[in-house]
Assembly symmetry: C2
Homo-oligomer: 456 residues x 2
Amino acid sequence: MLNEALQYAQLHRDSFLTELKDFLALPSVSALPEHKPDIQRTAQWLAEKFTSLGLQNAQVNPTPGHPIVTAEWLEAGPDKPTVLIYGHYDVQPIDPIELWHSDPFKAEVRNDYLYARGASDDKGQAFIYAAVLESFMQTSGKLPVNVKLILEGEEEIGGPSLDPFIESHREQLTADVAVISDTHMLRPDLPCLVYALRGLCYIQVEITGPARDLHSGQYGGAIYNPIQALSEMLASLKDHDGHITVPGFYDKVVPLSEAERKILAQAPFNEQEFMQDAGVNGVWGEKGYTTKEQISARPTLEINGIWGGFTGEGSKTVLPAKAFAKISCRLVANQDHVEIAELLSQHLKQIAPPSVKVEIKRLHGGHGALIKLDSKYMRAAHQVLQQVFDHAPIYEREGGSIPVVATFQKTLGIDSIMLGFGLPDDNLHSPNERFYLPNFYHGIETVIRYFVEIGK
Amino acid sequence: MLNEALQYAQLHRDSFLTELKDFLALPSVSALPEHKPDIQRTAQWLAEKFTSLGLQNAQVNPTPGHPIVTAEWLEAGPDKPTVLIYGHYDVQPIDPIELWHSDPFKAEVRNDYLYARGASDDKGQAFIYAAVLESFMQTSGKLPVNVKLILEGEEEIGGPSLDPFIESHREQLTADVAVISDTHMLRPDLPCLVYALRGLCYIQVEITGPARDLHSGQYGGAIYNPIQALSEMLASLKDHDGHITVPGFYDKVVPLSEAERKILAQAPFNEQEFMQDAGVNGVWGEKGYTTKEQISARPTLEINGIWGGFTGEGSKTVLPAKAFAKISCRLVANQDHVEIAELLSQHLKQIAPPSVKVEIKRLHGGHGALIKLDSKYMRAAHQVLQQVFDHAPIYEREGGSIPVVATFQKTLGIDSIMLGFGLPDDNLHSPNERFYLPNFYHGIETVIRYFVEIGK
């Protein structure tokens, strides 16, 4: 069964790639209302794909937001484990579009990379499972394990639909383990097992000064400018040592043990390369922690966007009525995203000058997670990755957020094995997102071997 | 001659209003490139209008930017003064358009106000002169003074064309005095003579952090966020007492004398009304000065716009590559706008964190001006305003900028008499800009009387 599937996968690389390109051509941008019909078409495309693979009960489940696609195949028998496969079919917006070198929704191969929005995050990685299931079904007519699939369309917007759906479909989603490919390896030759994820708390701040935009020559100098107020508030959120100043922010953070700092320090990390990749001439972060720890094991606060007043070409002498910012925090284990959003909101209201009004909207939230290293499913992942990549996987804390991992733990009582095949320079959320094609094919091989291994 | 002109103006109020509406319907937004053809049409409309009034040499003069319209009538004789009439036919952008209650380019009368972009600033006020000239020419076939007209199309963008044009047409523009209607009265019953104007220095700041937008989960916490840097820089530009912290900023400011502070304090100014009009629950400005002084006699710094990162709907977890701000300073007599722009730029570069790049663009600049109170032309203005409004005019410092007043002083050696007929709540540069129609008609009467008075 293993060899036939591997051989099939090997022979069908081109058709897998062609199909992945079709999948990427659907502009499933979850953040923008104008793409709602595209999201629907993408979900439909997936359900039809799953059905054509021979899976059962493929469904586009409506939610108050974007639909969740489910399917299953449970004929491996009760002695075989049931694997819950999670992925997300939505993608980030494409702006600034002028910086893309090719159409973000017309996938293009250049030098072993496939360029498209969603190529790596997460359509390309999620599509690995379709290729794996096809490779088994077309050669053996069956799978080595029972599988359930769940693909959501709101990951990039932290949509509220997934958690209640999992809660209300607890029975239907019961499984022994979840597998997720939505993380990255450190290098093409260096596989990686993520065992910790950060949570996220994302808010929008609206500052209102005067009731309308004013002429800066007639009112300027005597009224608190909302952009000035917002700038002062944002500037005060970190001290000179990069510590976040929101009272209570660090209270529940589980401190990094010396032992864990040693494990993390073993992962290859080159600060020069990190700086080069980001295009900066220096790093700057929380004092007392290494750059590696800052971006993966410590909570952070970043301003994701800011706007207010006149932003067009030329000069308009306006004292604006409003200013806005988007702020998000990455959280670590034991920080509660609802509580942090509350602390941050209270603090912003407290530090605002009295003559402006502050309104806060919570846009997104998710808890962090820690996965136990010593389980049958982690050991099998270690073994298979070593076999495919000829290198033992590195254990990593991931800086990004996959809130569903915490939800699977909490609601279904299962750990998630994160078989990530992205690379650090995949340009996630940026122009020219890409997926390293050898990793796409290695990913297919890894998952084929993994399913056979845990199905033994 | 006086009575005939006054009577004609009285009888032709409706036709003047209809023509003004036509003028306002031309969307002459100078800041936006897409309106360039409209600017051209507006200049053409004016030249044709002047010709039809019986003026001579009406011309649309091309410049590297928007055209300057000139015309003249010099048959009053060498013993009569020559008056240079200045106005601007360009207007501010209309955004946010959703806050307008009627089409900004379809002037509408509601409760004695004419609502349209440019109604008060400055098309409505400039049109007063067309009505005045028509009233004389249609009744007496001549004017009581020699006139030269100059109307520019770059006032709202501080365009660079006007000063070189005046310089190179020095001979053609020679005059004894200039008159300008581009300021406002304090109340409909309280005329006002502006004797000081502030200068302006307007820059745009571009902060570059990483080379591209980054994923905040993978890079956040270890890289100086350009929005954070910009916020810190902007926040530091004023201290807790509202003083501007740019070194050297105040060095050349002529201090306010106690005598002048007394004159200024006599002008009616109600802080409660000011707050109510602006829609704020408190004022905030430079310590040691009254609100009235802050908005008219002291230099100021305002942030006019800010943008960077993700500003769309929803949440995008990006650590942006760039952040921008527009900053402008109002300057008082003896501050040089080029020097202040330089000081501000140097300071911003100095205070920026070392890991970000700062680029500054100068968008706009103009010098302030002081007009002598004791001249034949000021005295005549005082007398005529008192006659029309039945109240002695208040001497005022204007917070806004009319850079041409400094240019006329410097290049032509003449003072400008500012016969302003706007009102403080005309919503200049804001949605629902308006012009109080009784002031339009009073303005026509005032200028008719003024020309007869100085032509005696």
